[in-house]
């Protein structure tokens, strides 16, 4: 699944998420719920800055994987898996566990495409489609058999 579709699904599933952006460790935006690309870049830059600042705060050896910053205006969530980062904003007092779960689910679906080069990602997507198509008849047979 491409990042744009994953974000569309995310905002449909989670009513708490107001805006979201997916970007890599270089700050390059893969997808955003904001229509303006300039604002998407600004959002990715600001979220990347927040993540970098949080990285400096860490006390142990373990890497920072996710964060929530709650302000009076709303909350900011950032989840990182490898080089791919997803950041989202919500209103005040969100259900943090649910938001993290939805963000991680979205990140899991877009991770292969964002982590690899576009040509490789295309092949992976095709292979995934073939696998899905091959599995479908087996799934349909199950209810008939039982």
């Amino acid at each position: 699944m491409d990042a744009k579709q994953a974000l569309a699904d995310l905002t449909e599933i989670s009513s708490q998420i107001q805006a979201a952006v997916v970007f890599d460790d270089q700050g390059k935006v893969a997808a955003s719920t904001l229509e303006d690309s300039r604002r998407s870049d600004e959002l990715a830059k600001a979220a990347g800055g927040l993540l970098a600042a949080a990285d400096e705060i860490k006390t142990g050896e373990s890497a920072l994987t996710q964060l929530e910053v709650a302000t009076g205006d709303g909350s900011v969530f950032v989840v990182r898996t490898g080089k791919t980062v997803i950041a989202a904003t919500t209103g005040s007092n969100p259900t943090a566990g649910l938001v993290f779960y939805d963000l991680k689910s979205a990140l899991r679906t877009i991770k292969p495409a964002a982590a690899k080069k576009p040509a490789v990602a295309k092949k992976t997507a095709t292979a995934a489609k073939k696998k899905t198509a091959a599995r479908k008849p087996a799934t349909r047979k199950k209810p008939d058999a039982s």
Binding site: A53, I57, G60, S62, V69
Partner: protein
């Protein structure tokens, strides 16, 4: 007389408890929770040096999404 004193104490106690609750809620409103790979979590409440660094950056993120 005793009843009125008890009622007065009850009202004052309730007001103090309410004020403490509101203050606690306000303190919890602004915070930063950091989650690490090993499962540990660090919660920085408003007023701590870490939170004071992250909160303005988070406000900037929210401002970016809401600006027209």
């Amino acid at each position: 007389m005793r009843r009125s004193i008890a009622a007065l104490l009850g009202i004052v106690g309730g007001m103090l408890a309410g004020a403490a609750f509101i203050r606690r809620q306000a303190a919890h409103r602004e915070r930063a929770d950091l989650y690490f790979e090993d499962g540990s979590m660090l919660s920085l409440t408003s007023g701590s040096p870490g939170a004071e660094r992250l909160l303005p950056l988070a406000r900037e993120v929210i401002r970016t999404t809401r600006s027209t």
